[in-house]
C-alpha cells in the first residue's frame, strides 16, 4: 500500500489560536463593580494561560462552560474562595477545583472530594548561599494586600533570608501600584510613607521604581528573584509571578513546613521553560479539623472584613454582597437552592 502523500502546502490561520485564548468571556451585562474590582487588583489579577484552566472566579468574566470543565484552577484569594465554598454546593461543579496549597484550611468537608491543590515552583531559587543579581519586589500599597505592619514584616523577612549585608550589591526594582480604594473601607495617606520606609530601612535606599509599561515590556528576568508581598486576600495566584518566572526569574528557596508531609504530589504541569505548577492531594484526615472560616476565630482576614463591615457597613456590605451574588451568573445550584 502506498504511503499517504505528504502535504505540500499548509494554511496558517491564527483565528483558531484566538478561539483558544477566548475561553474567558465577559458577560454583556457586567456590572461596574467588576471594572472596579479588576482595576483594584491590576495587574496581579491579569489572565494567564495554562493547561489547568487558570481563572479568577471573581475576575469580572467567566470561563465558557465553567461548570462542565474537568478541572479549574482558582486563582482567587481567601475571601472570594470562602464565599465560593459557602454559597455553592459541590455538585454545582462537575470537575475538580485546584486551589492554592496555602489555602487548604478553607475547604469545608463536603468540598474535600472536589478540591485538589497547586503551588508554583520556579526552576531557579535563591537564598543567602545562592544570591540573585537582581530583586523584583512587587505588591500593592493598600491594606487589602498587606497591612503596613505585615508589609514591613515581609520586607524584613526578605532581607533576613538573603542577608542584609548582601543587598548592597543586588539591584532592586520595586513595583507597588498605589491602590487608593481600600476594600476594607479605610485608606490612610500616611500608609505610603509606612510602606516606603519599610523598603528603604530593611532593603536599601537605591531602589528603582520603573513604570508598569516598562516592566511589562521587559523580557529577561534571568538571575532575578521575584518577591511578592501579597497576603492572598483577594488574589492568591498572581499574574506577575507567572510573568516574571516565564522570563527566567526565580523565587526564594522554599522553607519546609510540617504540613508538607500530608500533601502528595500527583503531577506537574509546565507553564514555561522556567517554572511549573505542581498538583497535590491532601490527606485531610491528618490535618487540623476544618473550622468554618466565616465563623471561626482562626480566619483573620475574613474576620477583618466582617469587623470593617460593622464600622462602615454600607461600603463593605456592598462588596460582600457583590461577591456572593456574582456566583449566580455561572452556577445553577447554591446552598440556598436554585440560584436562577
Amino acid at each position: 500500500m502506498d504511503k499517504p502523500k505528504k502535504k505540500e502546502t499548509e494554511i496558517v490561520q491564527w483565528s483558531y489560536d484566538l478561539v483558544q485564548n477566548a475561553y474567558l468571556v465577559k458577560p454583556e451585562d457586567t456590572e461596574l463593580n467588576h471594572d472596579i474590582y479588576l482595576n483594584y487588583l491590576f495587574p496581579f489579577c491579569n489572565n494567564y494561560f495554562g493547561p489547568t484552566n487558570p481563572m479568577m472566579i471573581f475576575g469580572g468574566h467567566s470561563v465558557k462552560d465553567l461548570p462542565e470543565r474537568p478541572y479549574i484552577t482558582v486563582r482567587d484569594g481567601i475571601v472570594p474562595l470562602c464565599i465560593l465554598f459557602r454559597d455553592l454546593k459541590p455538585s454545582a461543579i462537575k470537575g475538580q477545583l485546584f486551589i492554592h496549597r496555602d489555602l487548604w484550611y478553607t475547604v469545608p468537608e463536603d468540598w474535600r472530594e472536589k478540591v485538589r491543590f497547586f503551588d508554583v515552583e520556579a526552576l531557579k531559587t535563591y537564598d543567602a548561599q545562592n544570591l540573585p543579581k537582581r530583586i523584583f519586589i512587587a505588591g500593592a500599597l493598600n491594606s487589602t494586600l498587606a497591612d503596613p505592619l505585615e508589609f514591613e514584616a515581609q520586607v524584613k523577612a526578605l532581607a533576613e533570608r538573603l542577608g542584609k549585608e548582601n543587598l548592597a550589591d543586588i539591584e532592586i526594582m520595586a513595583f507597588f501600584p498605589n491602590k487608593r480604594t481600600d476594600l476594607w473601607g479605610a485608606w490612610e495617606e500616611e500608609n505610603v510613607l509606612h510602606y516606603s520606609r519599610a523598603i528603604f530601612e530593611h532593603l536599601k535606599v537605591d531602589v528603582k521604581t520603573p513604570e508598569w509599561h516598562l516592566i511589562h515590556s521587559e523580557n529577561n528576568f534571568k538571575d532575578c528573584l521575584y518577591y511578592e508581598i501579597n497576603a492572598g486576600t483577594l488574589v492568591k495566584d498572581s499574574y506577575l509571578t507567572h510573568f516574571t518566572l516565564s522570563r527566567g526569574g526565580g523565587l526564594l528557596a522554599p522553607v519546609p513546613d510540617a504540613i508538607d508531609a500530608h500533601f502528595k504530589r500527583t503531577s506537574s504541569v509546565g507553564l514555561s521553560l522556567y517554572h511549573q505548577m505542581n498538583l497535590y492531594e491532601l490527606d485531610f484526615d491528618k490535618v487540623t479539623p476544618y473550622c468554618d472560616p466565616l465563623k471561626g476565630e482562626n480566619f483573620r482576614y475574613y474576620k477583618k472584613l466582617i469587623e470593617a463591615a460593622n464600622q462602615k457597613k454600607k461600603f463593605n456590605y456592598k462588596w460582600e454582597k457583590w461577591l456572593a451574588t456574582y456566583l449566580k451568573r455561572f452556577f445553577k445550584e447554591s446552598r440556598h437552592g436554585a440560584l436562577d
Binding site: S15, K222, F243
Partner: protein, 460 residues
C-alpha cells in the same frame, strides 16, 4: 562635509531586535564620521512616555531645539524606532518654525504599521518638508510606498539594511566542534535551528510539524534546536492577543504528541546571549524560519545566521526576501494569501532543507558563505550604501494616503485602546483585518511577498 545630527533614544528599546539594530546603525554612522565622510553629532532624546506616549510627557526637546539652532546640521537622522519621529518633530516645531527645521532622514522599522496613527499625523504638519524614508528591505519599501500619496518619485523611499555586527557574528569553526561534542552530536547528525521569538506569527509550531515530516524522510538523524523567548504578542492587528503562557502550552502540547525518541531530538534553549547564539549558529547545519510576522521588515536573526555562514531556508515574506540571491546559501519557500489564510508551500520548505543538509557543507564552505554575506550586510560592508544615501538631496514629503489613517483606526481600536482592554473584554476578532485574500490585510501585506521563490504571489 555634510553635518548630520543623529537622534537616538536615551532609553533602551523594550523591543529585543531593536536593542541590536539601532546600535549597529549608529556604528555605521560612526564609521562614516571616522572616515571623514560626514560631520557627526548625536543627541539622546528622552521621553517619559516613550512606549505608551498617548500624552506628551517629560522630554528634553528644548535642549534638542537649542542644539539644532546652534549647530545648524544639514540633516537630522532618526536611527531608533522610538521615540517616534513624528512626535519629536511635532515637539521641535513648538520651538522652531517647521521651515527652519533641517531636512530629515528617518530609518523606518517594522513597527511602521503598528504606529500608523503617528505616521499618518506627519502629513498634517510636515507635508512639503524634505523628509527621506529609509527602510531595511525591498518588501518594506513596497509596503511603505503603498501608503504614500501620488507624486512621490518611485525611488523616494530608500533602502538601507539593518547591519550585522561583524564582531558578534562570524563562522566559528572551533565553537562548532566544541558545542557538538558537548551536546554529543555524532558527525552524521544534522541540526536544524530556529532562533528568534517563539511567537504566534513566527509559526514555530508549523516548523516543529515539518521537522517530524523531515525526520521521517531523512537518511541522517535530525535535531531541532529552538532558541529564543516565548512571547504572547499574538496577532494584534486582527485582535488576537494571546494570554501569557499560551505559546508555551501550545508548543509543549505539540511536542508531547510526538514519539519519545523524536521528542528527545527537540531542544528548547530559551533566551540566550549573543555569544551562545553565535556558537549555536556555528554548530547547526541549517537555519529555518517560517515566519509570517506582520512586522517582519527585515529579519535580524536570519541575517545573523547567514553571517555565521549557516544556510537558511526562509518563507518568502517581508525582509526575508532580501537575503536570497547572493554568494551564500538562502532559499525561499513560496507564500501566498488565500481566502482561508496564509498558505506556505511546506513541500518546498522540506525540499530546501533537504537540499541544504544534503550539500554537507565543509568548514571552508561555511567560512566562504559567511565572508560573502558579511561583505554586504555587516556594519563596515554596508557603510558605502549609507554614505550614498546621506549624500543625496532630500525630496519633499507629499503626505500619506487615507488608507494609512484607516489602518491606524484598526490598530488604535483593537490594541491600544487601554491597558485593561484584553483583561476586560477578552478576545474579539477584527473581521476587517484577517489574513485572507480580498481584505485590507491582503492589500497591505501582498507587498511582503517578493515572488523570488518562484511561486505565484497572488498579488492580485
Amino acid at each position: 562635509m555634510k553635518k548630520v545630527l543623529v537622534i537616538k533614544s536615551a532609553q533602551e528599546s523594550p523591543w529585543g531586535s531593536c536593542k541590536i539594530i539601532s546600535p549597529n546603525i549608529q556604528a555605521t554612522y560612526d564609521l562614516l564620521a571616522a572616515a571623514g565622510d560626514i560631520e557627526l553629532r548625536s543627541f539622546g532624546f528622552y521621553d517619559k512616555n516613550i512606549v505608551d506616549g498617548l500624552l506628551n510627557g517629560e522630554d528634553n526637546v528644548a535642549e534638542l531645539a537649542d542644539l539644532l539652532q546652534a549647530w545648524k546640521p544639514d540633516l537630522v537622522s532618526f536611527v531608533d524606532h522610538l521615540p517616534l519621529p513624528n512626535r519629536v518633530l511635532n515637539r521641535i516645531s513648538h520651538y522652531i518654525p517647521v521651515k527652519k527645521i533641517p531636512p530629515v532622514l528617518v530609518h523606518i522599522y517594522g513597527d511602521f504599521t503598528y504606529f500608523s496613527d503617528d505616521w499618518y499625523k506627519l502629513t498634517d504638519q510636515f507635508k512639503g518638508h524634505p523628509i527621506k524614508f529609509v527602510v531595511a528591505s525591498a518588501a518594506q519599501r513596497r509596503l511603505v510606498s503603498f501608503f504614500l500619496e501620488e507624486g512621490h518619485d518611485q525611488n523616494y523611499v530608500r533602502q538601507y539594511l539593518f547591519p550585522v555586527s561583524e564582531q558578534d557574528y562570524f563562522f566559528d569553526a572551533g565553537a562548532r566542534d566544541e558545542l557538538r561534542t558537548q551536546q554529543e552530536i555524532p558527525p552524521d547528525e544534522r541540526v536544524i535551528l530556529y532562533a528568534g521569538r517563539v511567537s504566534l506569527q513566527k509559526n514555530v509550531d508549523l516548523l516543529i510539524r515539518e521537522f517530524r515530516r523531515l525526520s521521517d524522510e531523512s537518511p541522517a538523524p535530525l535535531r531541532l534546536w529552538i532558541v529564543g523567548a516565548f512571547d504572547d504578542v499574538g496577532a494584534i492587528f486582527m485582535g488576537a492577543k494571546n494570554y501569557e503562557g499560551f505559546m508555551y502550552s501550545k508548543i509543549q502540547k505539540l511536542i508531547a504528541s510526538f514519539p519519545p525518541e523524536l521528542r528527545s531530538r527537540i531542544t528548547l534553549w530559551g533566551q540566550q546571549d549573543k555569544g551562545t547564539l553565535r556558537r549555536l549558529k556555528a554548530a547547526a547545519d541549517v537555519f529555518v524560519s517560517l515566519s509570517l510576522y506582520h512586522d517582519e521588515d527585515y529579519g535580524m536573526s536570519p541575517a545573523e545566521a547567514l553571517a555565521c555562514g549557516l544556510p537558511a531556508v526562509l518563507t518568502d515574506w517581508g525582509g526575508y526576501g532580501s537575503f536570497a540571491g547572493g554568494d551564500w546559501q538562502c532559499r525561499l519557500a513560496p507564500v501566498d494569501i488565500t481566502e482561508f489564510g496564509h498558505r506556505i508551500n511546506v513541500g518546498k520548505v522540506r525540499e530546501h532543507v533537504t537540499a541544504s543538509l544534503g550539500a554537507k557543507a565543509t568548514p571552508e564552505d561555511r567560512q566562504r558563505w559567511s565572508t560573502a554575506f558579511r561583505t554586504e550586510f555587516s556594519v563596515s560592508g554596508s557603510a558605502r550604501k549609507l554614505r550614498e544615501i546621506l549624500a543625496e538631496d532630500v525630496d519633499p514629503f507629499l503626505g500619506f494616503k487615507w488608507n494609512l489613517n484607516y489602518l491606524s483606526s484598526i490598530f488604535w481600536k483593537e490594541d491600544r485602546r487601554s491597558r485593561f482592554y484584553y483583561e476586560y473584554i477578552g478576545q474579539k476578532i477584527n473581521t476587517n483585518f484577517n489574513p485572507t485574500s480580498n481584505s485590507f490585510y491582503h492589500d497591505i501585506y501582498r507587498n511582503y511577498i517578493s515572488g523570488a521563490s518562484g511561486a505565484g504571489t497572488n498579488n492580485g
